[in-house]
């Protein structure tokens, strides 16, 4: 039971379970609403301000935020997202932060999306922990509710895209430690790379597609890396031909 509780605690804290990558815990990472087909071309997608954090993980495991990397990553990711979507003929516009009430509501929706994505990851993508009512057919029934269309700024949108990424790159010291530890049979991960990308249908509030990954590839500090990350985040994006450059 102790192990179980530890596992539950780890999940509650959002700690990467890939550390315990036993086959039993193998995790799915993409879900699409059954029968969903992305209309071809001309789709208006609003991109919520992505939460992007990039820094290094020093030998001791501390996260060192790095503004240059973060700014670079944000720029690269924005460009890569536009490029990826532009190729499909979709029109992607960033969500305009308003003032006061609208801001607070968009904040609520960002929070709700995270709760939703967490739930999909915990209760759908982990087959062993799937909720019995979510096990049927190709069931992927998740929503933030049809009221989302009332969020100011979404009047002319067809879909909302939510994106979260956090990267801790391993420093040279940590990489060395990793090799040293491997010799001694101790597992130490170098770097944390997690991300969610989710597409919500504005009219219905339904989550039509979600990609949730705790070990993403692509060095977002470089243009190519960001493109690789976006292709990975948007892997399996409905109606897309984007393929992951390579999964790590």
């Amino acid at each position: 039971m102790r192990k179980t509780r530890l596992l539950a605690a780890a999940m509650a804290c959002g700690i990467s379970l890939s550390l315990l990558s036993a086959p039993a815990l193998a995790q799915e990472k993409t879900g699409v609403k059954a029968g969903f087909v992305m209309p071809a071309g001309g789709t208006r997608i609003v991109l919520m301000r992505p939460s992007v954090r990039v820094g290094a993980q020093s030998t001791g495991g501390l996260f060192e935020p790095n503004a240059d990397w973060t700014a670079q990553a944000r720029e690269n990711l924005d460009a890569a997202i536009r490029k990826a979507q532009g190729q499909l003929g979709h029109q992607v516009t960033p969500y305009e932060d308003g003032t006061g009430a609208a801001d607070s509501l968009s904040n609520q929706y960002r929070g709700l999306f995270t709760s939703l994505a967490d739930s999909v990851r915990e209760f759908q993508f982990f087959p062993g922990n799937r909720l019995p009512t979510k096990k049927r057919k190709d069931s992927f029934e998740w929503t933030i509710g049809p009221e989302a269309k009332n969020l100011p700024g979404l009047e002319n949108a067809d879909y909302v895209l939510f994106i979260t990424t956090e990267d801790h790159y391993g420093s040279a010291g940590r990489k060395a430690l990793q090799i040293f530890a491997a010799l001694g049979g101790v597992g130490i991960t170098s770097g944390v790379h997690l991300g969610y990308a989710g597409l919500v249908d504005v009219r219905t509030g339904e989550l039509v597609w979600l990609n949730a990954d705790q070990q993403m590839g692509g060095d977002v500090r470089t243009t190519e890396g960001a493109e690789k990350r976006v292709s990975q985040l948007l892997e399996g994006f409905p109606g897309s031909t984007i393929r992951s450059a390579s999964a790590q």
Binding site: T4, N107, S115, S119, F123, P132, T143
Partner: protein, 194 residues
Amino acid sequence: MKPITLIIAAALAAAPAYAGNSLIPAGRTVQVAKSAMAVTPGSEWNKLGRRPGTNGEIWTLDGDKLNRVTFYGGIAQDTTLFREVDRKNSPLPRFSQTMLLTDVPKLLENSYRVALGSALFTIDQMEPARFGGVDGIRFTYSFVAGNQEVQSKGEARAAIVKGRLYMISYEAPALHFFEKNVAQFRQIADSATF
């Protein structure tokens, strides 16, 4: 069993124990929270493998962050509503037999304030309501968990029977989710028997 067998059995049990979510079918009467309380849900639910405390049980449809029904099956004198995480530094308030029904919302409020680390908790309404065939209370509340920005709403029914507290609560984000399943919760609460 020999020790080694025990260890293997424990190891085998460990993984599925967390993955012990089970289906609660519609229309069948089930005992809940390891207690004398029983309910007959009108629709199907998922029962989570993890419990909030010895006398607790959680049901959900989409995950407990999105909709959560909690059963408190006979909280005894001088015990907490759910498991204490840090008994030394953040002890939870305890149920006392001297409590009146009007004290129950405050017991839940103060337990949540400590457990969720949030002062954003308000009791909205309370009124008498039959629960499990006895005189009880129905109340509503709203809260935001610490470090989160999701406004949640809650509704609960409670009664004190033979010095023990029985309660069923329902909680969900105020955006969309609360309204979506509140009727299903009320049906469950209406079906409760002790």
